[in-house]
């Protein structure tokens, strides 16, 4: 009984265990798994990160079929921040793909602009259009891949034909 009174008096003056989150900041803990940052200059376009990403939040789109140039697109609102892409990246040690300790802002209010986030998020101005634009991009990226394969096939066939002609 006495112990109970001591305990309740202690509780009256002790500080709360919680933090007042929207009014006080809630800092990221050390070693937090946050946003994925990309460096185009170091990338060798091996597509390993695209292949392993479980939700498919990384998409490479072929922008120039003749040279086969690809663009990195990343959707931070689809990402599950598992870090699989960073694990699998062959150039991760040099800083091609790194996982920062920062959070992504809430969807629908504002949009972050950073060159290291890839092309997709930097091309959008209206935060409400993120989902729609990403769906369009997914279709576009898949189609551009098919086009590239078809182009390469045609090129190979033309080369073969030319070779056959020369040997004749």
């Amino acid at each position: 009984m006495i112990q109970m009174f001591i305990e309740s008096l202690k509780n009256l003056v002790s500080k709360p265990e919680t933090i007042k989150y929207p009014f006080a900041p809630s800092p990221e803990p050390k070693g937090y798994r946050g946003t994925i940052l990309y460096n185009e200059e170091l990338c060798i376009f091996c597509d390993k990160c695209e292949n392993i990403c479980p939700p498919g939040a990384i998409k490479f789109e072929v922008v120039d079929i003749e040279s086969g140039k690809k663009q990195y697109n990343y959707n931070p609102y689809l990402c599950i921040y598992c870090g699989a892409c960073v694990d699998v990246c062959p150039k991760a040690d040099e800083g091609c793909l790194i996982q920062a300790e920062t959070r992504t802002p809430v969807l629908g209010e504002s949009i972050v602009k950073d060159k290291r986030l890839g092309y997709f998020i930097n091309e959008i101005d209206n935060p409400k259009l993120v989902e729609k634009k990403w769906r369009e991009l997914e279709i576009r990226a898949a189609k551009s891949r098919e086009d590239l394969v078809a182009y390469k096939k045609a090129k190979r066939a033309a080369k073969k034909a030319a070779k056959a002609k020369v040997s004749e």
Binding site: G31, R33, I52, C53, P54, I80, Y81, C82, A84, D87
Partner: protein
């Protein structure tokens, strides 16, 4: 003889943390019949694992089967795939995996005990339990980088390395937690009013537990010695001081106390692991495609979790089958209700610590 009344309990109810529905047929206050419906959170994860995802992506998918035991699911899957691929892990990986598995068990058991305290009317005890639970969450957050979805175990090792700084942080928090848990345990064990609501309520005898094939703390509270950690050799638990915990009463109180015993044992194990983490790499090389079939039994916080995997030398697996402990405990739950008072039903359900997102997948 009073009128028969059907009382629905769930799928949404203030006392339930998970969507499960019970239809109690009651006579006066006593339950005479019960119907259970468990399929509210079916997401088709097994089917997705066999069609949409490659085997390298699956650790991240199966970790999302359940929020509380995501470590167990990912661990079971990686263990199975490593068996299929013939990968040998080193001692450091085993120890780090064991550390997170035991930390996961501690916070899951504390959540279950807190919920029982809440439904029997101890709101304050519930808050205290959850306050102490934060320490474990902090350790896990520091080790893995996230609070709920850990994604720590990957094929061929663990995702992050472990350093001295984390070790000191974890040790400090664990010692604090040990003292706090002892305080809580004393209250759960000796409090008179808490005992009135929990002692002798929902008793499962040893024969009944064996007949209905219960798993986990529910079976161990009835004196049944079953634990996949001791029966199936997947991580070296014996080396770090694992002991089987049993009680013989078999009621709600005994289930709580078995959980507390296991928390104390797990804290001991974690401290032992922190004392002697071996040197070595935290990743080994992975090569090849899975071929053949394998089954894995691991001890989830709620009981025995079973995985069956079948590969066919392609990137997508042929079959992924998950059987979770809550599913094994539903039949005895149904039997148990008959003859109990309706006012005790909440405490009985929560003492089983049901995880419906595991069950329905």
């Amino acid at each position: 003889m009073g009128n028969r009344i059907v009382v629905p309990f769930g799928s949404q109810h203030v006392a339930l943390p998970e969507p499960v529905s019970f239809l109690f047929e009651t006579q006066n206050e006593v339950i005479t019949d019960v119907q259970v419906n468990i399929g509210y959170v079916h997401r088709g994860i097994e089917k997705a694992a066999m069609t949409k995802f490659e085997f390298t992506q699956l650790p991240y998918l199966v970790a999302r089967v359940c929020g509380l035991c995501s470590i167990t699911h990912a661990g079971a899957y990686t263990h199975g795939i490593e068996k299929l691929l013939g990968i040998e892990t080193n001692k450091k990986i085993d120890y780090l995996r064991m550390l997170v598995v035991e930390l996961d068990r501690i916070h899951s058991h504390m959540l279950a005990n807190g919920h029982v305290a809440e439904v029997v009317g101890y709101e304050n005890l519930f808050m205290q339990t959850f306050r102490y639970r934060e320490d474990v969450m902090d350790i896990l957050e520091r080790i893995t980088g996230n609070r709920v979805q850990y994604d720590y175990q990957v094929i061929g090792g663990v995702a992050r390395d472990f350093d001295k700084e984390i070790e000191e942080f974890a040790r400090k928090k664990l010692l604090k937690l040990k003292a706090n848990t002892e305080k809580l345990m004393e209250f759960f064990e000796n409090d008179y009013t808490f005992g009135l609501k929990t002692k002798g309520v929902g008793t499962i005898s040893k024969e009944m537990a064996a007949k209905f094939n219960t798993a986990g703390p529910i079976a161990r509270a009835s004196g049944l010695e079953t634990d996949a950690r001791a029966e199936y050799d997947y991580l070296p638990f014996e080396e770090v001081g694992y002991k089987l915990q049993t009680r013989t009463e078999g009621d709600v109180w005994a289930r709580n106390m078995v959980r507390f015993d296991e928390i104390m044992n797990s804290i001991e194990m974690c401290l032992n692991i922190l004392d002697g983490i071996p040197e070595g790499e935290h990743r080994v090389k992975v090569k090849g495609r899975p071929d053949g079939e394998v089954f894995i039994r691991v001890e989830a916080p709620r009981g025995e979790c079973f995985y069956y995997l079948k590969g066919n030398k392609t990137k997508v697996l042929d079959r992924v089958r998950i059987r979770v402990p809550t599913y094994a405990n539903i039949p005895v739950l149904k039997e148990l209700f008959v003859g109990e008072k309706y006012s005790d039903a909440q405490a009985i359900v929560l003492s089983f610590d049901p995880c419906m997102s595991c069950t329905a997948r």
